[in-house]
């Protein structure tokens, strides 16, 4: 018996190294052009930026050319994604579609929908959101009760989704809706995925302001919203079977360990070339953990490229990665130069902004996209404990 998970080593092929340089050059140019500023927090040029990235062919780049993709590898996509994140580029407009919604449509969507929607994701036009959580269905995803009832030519949707990031800016949602009751044998039965046009009649979007003061997530209310048959994704009542591959993509990417890197970068700037012993040790420790996270994340990308579904490995990456990125701002804070009674006082606005911002967002990192407790449950299942 072996209970060790598999993280196959990956060597990035030469085309990835060239691509990385190309992405860095593009980002440098966009920063200089003022499209965004790294470390600037939320940025209002996200839609414009998406069009520019789309023009480079870097959205949906692994999808087939007939749907607007480039037929590139997961490893090439990985390189683009991590460069975008490391430079704090405003990927918000397209990242959900690129990472999750597009692949779901590609795999389970109906042909006419694929032909219509996927090329518009690739061009950077369309923004997606994900309708999973509900007031009484958070970590317990399969408790969703927002209902789709069959009607002439389609379905009528009634209910509420909550914590829906970007709903107020999204063109489409992929929603998980109840089409039948669960069965005693399978409580996951009875849910179906749908593509929902966010401009449909009957949708109300209410902002929920988060603790940073930003408007990211929303409550979305459905009141007799019509969704055509064409927009049903996959098999009716069988959404649970479609979920595992999606989660492997969602849970292992660089966005699961790079969200607070800016605090470390700005600390290094403040500390300068001759750190104290305490600072050198602290910085080195975080860099070692970062480098290891990256290797594991890259390994999952390689296994996805090889056609595997490393669900437990992806959960390990997200668990370790989000714990790392969540803990980082506090470690940075304690490494910072200390002055008088107002520690940490770096005498540097950029550092303080980065530290404050990352401190504020830290709590969400081990909640969104699967809480730490849920992930560890998945890992425990992978170990054969449940």
């Amino acid at each position: 018996m072996t209970s060790t998970f598999q993280f196959d080593p990956v060597e990035l092929p030469p085309e990835c190294k060239e691509l990385r340089q190309e992405v860095r050059a593009f980002l440098k140019q966009e920063i200089e052009a003022g499209t965004f500023s790294p470390g600037g927090g939320r940025n209002e040029n996200a839609a414009l930026f998406a069009k520019k990235v789309g023009a480079k062919g870097w959205i949906g780049m692994t999808w087939p050319k007939q749907y607007g993709g480039q037929g590139k590898t997961q490893l090439e996509r990985y390189v683009v994604t991590e460069e975008m994140l490391a430079h704090k580029a405003p990927t918000r407009h397209y990242s959900t579609a690129d990472r999750q919604s597009g692949p779901v449509l590609l795999r389970y969507g109906q042909e006419a929908v694929k032909e219509n929607i996927l090329p518009r994701i690739c061009s950077g036009e369309l923004c997606f959101c994900i309708g999973l959580s509900e007031p009484n269905s958070g970590s317990d995803v399969f408790a969703a009760s927002t209902r789709a009832t069959k009607t002439e030519g389609g379905w009528l949707v009634n209910g509420r989704k909550i914590w829906t990031s970007n709903a107020h800016q999204a063109d489409y949602m992929i929603g998980l809706l109840r089409t039948s009751n669960s069965t005693p044998e399978n409580r996951r039965h009875g849910l179906t995925q749908f593509l929902i046009d966010m401009k449909s009649k009957g949708i109300t979007i209410r902002p929920i302001i988060n603790l940073t003061g930003a408007h990211d997530f929303n409550e979305v209310i459905f009141d007799d919203v019509f969704v055509p048959d064409l927009h049903m994704i996959g098999e009716v009542d069988m959404a649970w079977k479609q979920a595992s591959a999606e989660l492997a993509y969602e849970r292992s990417g660089p966005d699961r360990w790079l969200e607070t890197l800016q605090s470390l970068v700005e600390l290094i700037r403040v500390v300068g070339p001759e750190p104290s012993e305490r600072q050198a040790e602290g910085i080195g420790r975080e860099v070692a953990h970062l480098a290891t996270m990256r290797r594991m994340s890259l390994s999952v990308a390689g296994m996805l490229q090889a056609g595997k579904t490393p669900a437990a490995e992806a959960s390990i990456v997200k668990d370790l990665g989000t714990n790392f990125e969540q803990a980082l701002p506090n470690k940075v804070r304690l490494m910072a130069p200390v002055r008088g009674d107002s520690a940490p006082d770096s005498n540097d606005d950029r550092f303080e902004q980065a530290l404050n911002y990352t401190t504020l967002i830290a709590p969400k990192l081990t909640i969104q996209g699967g809480t730490r407790e849920i992930l560890r449950g998945i890992i425990a299942r992978g170990l054969g404990l449940r």
Partner: protein, 352 residues
């Protein structure tokens, strides 16, 4: 990627000849002759020595993969040390003799010299398995130049000691000894030896971590309390999931170091960063992982009779050797700070 035939051969040998009793007896001073002879017959300890210098001429990756397996079995033989000694001798174009070997010094500031009369001078502490070795490969200076010397152990004054790992860690005096062979090795100093030796220890540690995860999972499935296996309790599941994460991270970090040594030897920034990251990350995993494994095992895991301590004691001992977490963290932190904030990301992605 390591050669799977070599890994399978090593696994078979350890399965057959490295049982719990072998480890216990070795720690009481009984040399595990059958185990060593089987390894030596397969040329595994000389994997890093080219054919023309008496070795197996295998890849760097193969030797590291053997060490991962050896670590899983808490193998009480100087296989890492003989691999390293063979590598060291090969750097100076010296042939490897048969039999177990070890290396000295094990500290970067270790200072062993060879005088004009050809006699060695210097003392090395914490030399692993010195009392079991037929030869010691020594990094020394002769007239200010770096050399590698092969010394017969029987000519040396060795005072035995035991490390936290339970393995021999002896003090060796080289004073007045004459080397069997000496070769020039301009690029080698004790720091370079430390680098590859640290990479070797990370493999053994990653293997030991894999073992304690297996043992902990199995124990939690077997041990019944409150009417069900303790594996069914969420608190235990969360702990084991945490352990699995640490084990996976350690394996990935150790692989990173092995890969860098395979590509760049012991020269340059990339291998220095990879080994620093690995020894530190694996050291962190060793501390956190051993604590969880013991917690899951309860009092049973704290007994001599149980074998958990074969692995956890080694993890605690090995994490101190060839630089502990603090040493490598500080060094890595200084390298990063010297390059500056905007070079952090290029530094992390270098080589890929």
């Amino acid at each position: 990627m390591p050669d799977s035939i070599i890994v399978d051969t090593a696994t078979k040998i350890f399965q057959d000849l490295c049982e719990a009793d072998t480890v216990n007896k070795a720690e009481k001073g009984e040399w595990p002759k059958a185990l060593w002879d089987a390894l030596a017959e397969s040329y595994l300890p000389l994997a890093w020595v080219p054919d023309d210098l008496g070795g197996a001429g295998a890849e760097i990756a193969d030797g590291f993969a053997v060490l991962r397996v050896a670590g899983r079995f808490a193998a009480p033989v100087p296989i890492a040390e003989t691999l390293l000694a063979g590598w060291l001798l090969a750097q100076a174009k010296l042939a490897s003799p048969p039999g177990p070997m070890t290396i000295a010094p094990v500290y970067e500031d270790g200072n062993i010299t060879i005088g004009a009369d050809g006699k060695l001078k210097g003392r090395a502490r914490h030399v692993p398995f010195a009392r079991n070795a037929a030869h010691i490969a020594v990094v020394a200076t002769r007239g200010g130049e770096n050399v590698v010397a092969l010394v017969e152990a029987k000519d040396l004054a060795i005072s035995p000691g035991v490390g936290l790992s339970g393995e021999p860690r002896d003090t060796v005096s080289f004073d007045g000894a004459t080397a069997v062979a000496v070769g020039a090795a301009p690029g080698l100093d004790p720091a370079k030896l430390t680098l590859i030796a640290a990479a070797a220890r990370t493999q053994q540690m990653a293997g030991a971590l894999e073992r304690i995860l297996e043992q902990s999972v199995q124990f939690s499935l077997d041990r019944v309390q409150f009417g069900r296996p303790i594996a069914k309790f969420q608190a235990v599941q969360q702990n084991l999931a945490n352990l699995a994460g640490e084990v996976a991270a350690a394996g990935a970090a150790a692989d990173g170091a092995a890969e860098a040594v395979g590509l760049y030897g012991v020269e340059g920034d990339i291998v220095a960063a990879a080994v620093a990251s690995a020894k530190l990350r694996v050291g962190d995993a060793a501390g956190a992982g051993a604590a969880i494994a013991h917690q899951v095992h309860g009092a049973m895991g704290f007994t001599y009779e149980h074998t958990l301590h074969h692995s956890t004691r080694r993890l605690w001992g090995w994490r101190e050797e060839f630089g502990n977490e603090t040493l490598w963290a500080e060094r890595l932190g200084r390298a990063v700070a010297a390059k500056g904030a905007d070079a952090l990301w290029p530094f992390v992605t270098q080589g890929s």
